[in-house]
Subunit: 314 residues, 3 copies
Amino acid sequence: MKHYLSINDIDSLPNWVDEAIALKKSPYGFQHLGKQKTICLLFFNNSLRTRLSTQKAAMYLGMEVMIMNFGSEGWALEYEDGTMMNQGTSEHIKEAARVVSQFCDIVAIRAFAKLEDKITDEAEEVLTGFAKHASIPIVNMESSVAHPLQALADAITLAEHKTKSKPKVVLSWAPHPKALPHAVANSFVQMMKKQEADFIITHPKGYELNPEITNGCQIEYDQETALENADFIYVKNWSSYEDYGQVLHQNTNWMMTEKKLGHAKFMHCLPVRRNVVVEDAVLDKNQSLVIEQANNRTFAAQLVLKKILENHEN
Amino acid sequence: MKHYLSINDIDSLPNWVDEAIALKKSPYGFQHLGKQKTICLLFFNNSLRTRLSTQKAAMYLGMEVMIMNFGSEGWALEYEDGTMMNQGTSEHIKEAARVVSQFCDIVAIRAFAKLEDKITDEAEEVLTGFAKHASIPIVNMESSVAHPLQALADAITLAEHKTKSKPKVVLSWAPHPKALPHAVANSFVQMMKKQEADFIITHPKGYELNPEITNGCQIEYDQETALENADFIYVKNWSSYEDYGQVLHQNTNWMMTEKKLGHAKFMHCLPVRRNVVVEDAVLDKNQSLVIEQANNRTFAAQLVLKKILENHEN
Amino acid sequence: MKHYLSINDIDSLPNWVDEAIALKKSPYGFQHLGKQKTICLLFFNNSLRTRLSTQKAAMYLGMEVMIMNFGSEGWALEYEDGTMMNQGTSEHIKEAARVVSQFCDIVAIRAFAKLEDKITDEAEEVLTGFAKHASIPIVNMESSVAHPLQALADAITLAEHKTKSKPKVVLSWAPHPKALPHAVANSFVQMMKKQEADFIITHPKGYELNPEITNGCQIEYDQETALENADFIYVKNWSSYEDYGQVLHQNTNWMMTEKKLGHAKFMHCLPVRRNVVVEDAVLDKNQSLVIEQANNRTFAAQLVLKKILENHEN
């Protein structure tokens, strides 16, 4: 593995999950790998969990960490080839990516979907620009269409909490006042396709995810039917994909409630809007795994960095 | 001691001051305590001294440091219980505090008074929210009503410079163009109540501090009378407490001058507006202790972190 | 050497360049120098290369690094003596510089020219304010009139790529939509005056640099004549010095092209606007040294820090 850009960079999900759970037990066991290695975290968007967990993961591995809020601390980047740069952008991704590569051994990047134009978002110009022009490995800390560190943390959490080999896992859309990206849902779906499970996606009509990603997945428009006998319910809002970036409605009937949850475990990537996406009673129950999911972000990131460092060593 | 939220978390001020002065002599002597420990500094407001000194203190102890400007880099937090979060806040303190607890061993927080509403400020929702929901120790880097790291640094500075066992110490209000919080004054008063001194507070009528805090202290409205034979004069502006957050007047007669200072030592927490709060001649004299107060911020923070780490060890 | 404020703080440029090239070969060889030493990087302006390379340089030396975006994270500073500070500034440089000196061993500062007033910019109040009032060494990470870390990196790059003892080096002005400072050009000129070269400056009339800096240099207004048989062409925009801070015109004829480049090596400090300052074909050729210049920023900074630490040791 050179880069970690999407779930598809994982060769064997079960092996990765086992290795992450082992790391979690002795996180300081691989400090020799990160010695005299530096990671640079570039944020084009806000972050809490990703910022702290990726930093912590690098520290566990003995790496040095450099952090930049690229938007506010650096220069406005140009991504188009051949542009006459006489407008708002000061530096081309070609230079930026090659320059950053001089100062560190791995670069991790967060750049959200803008939800204005599907083609632009799907081009993932920031992440793919760095992957194309940098000479060092790239880690995706959430791009326009994928959040593979979150999905790996989710896989770890599922593995830790499942009580049967083929649990029923439901990804259930939730209402939200703002238009949110599809990255978390996309990577969760891709991750679920890589493991044994009875997996169902449920959402109102019009909120279908990219069909290339959900291809082969069971989709059920009736939430009650979908949730029946679920072992894990992963709740997440996303805006419309078809009617790109639009909030079609905020149907409050889709909010997750204690009653709907039943005996299932509750999952969400956070941050979460209480009593909009999910009611208080769910989050405040022991059945909620959200804090453990956040904790596992560290070990997901640590595993990815470990694999990159090991690959580099060979 | 679990948290360091206010001066009242100090069991014995004289012992703490002695220990801080010893630390200052060999600050690298306790690196084993911080090994493989991480502190997260969360800033909801600007900072110079607190930012650098707390970071330096953690480094002296061998800790890893993660820093976040929560306001600009994280998510807008909700503090109310039971809110339907369909407005401006994206994450509840319940999740944020528990999530941050996954990534570090101590969290230090700065969140100023907004001076709009006394009840809101006194509720100290940020600090108490973290203290309630985090699973790790919390350090107050200045909250709405207290700045106990500053007051501890002030106690160290007083101890280093006093020439008698019961010095006369005056807290003297000063004019300022902007409405400032009461945190520094409050913690200074609370700290002074924990030691032997002839302590007087002086300010114009209308600028009385919270009477629950100044309870038992001598208050003198005539500055000249108050300053007579002072050994230390601590100058500080604060807005009205009664007429909450208002600048009643900027009476320039209350500015500290070389003449008023006499033979006393001058103290201020910084930043300070020259020739508004205090005239140049005072700050540029050897009698000014302001730089040493700033220096002692490091050892106040280091002592607090050391005590938390030791407590955690036991 | 106490401070590194300008190229004039270099005693022997050839020796420095040799030492930097040696450092580049074994950058981890001097970690004992930086042990228990801290550098504070203060940014009053944006930065990519300087931010990452100076941080990396300090890490190579085993130093701790503290970073502050002073403008957004600290307090607005006052630089005038004797001001009654009842307006927008909260803290005087006298206190800020002395306070920062309590928390670190070296302070590095970036504060660009504002290009509004020549006298103000040439006073370099931020850098000289810190140099005057701090008690620790100061490193210039680009000030109003100088960028000596860039010029030292350029000297290293020239030394690595020259094939004759006295190469022809041309500093060629380029068009740009915005008014840019003179700092990079000034330091490059001063650096070139310290070594053997056939050095020519070329720019349109009206774009003369400060004559005190270019004193003794050959200036040629015809770009074609200037570029003839050049070994290295350093391209850079700057605004007018005479008509201070003005963009007199954006004469696109002055853009660097593949044809003009000939067999010369291309240099630029970055960030660079493609197809405005220089055409794509130049940057995408092997003759471009811009990425190596960026890489050498690390070793320029490391050498400067090493010399300061060694000086401090003696």
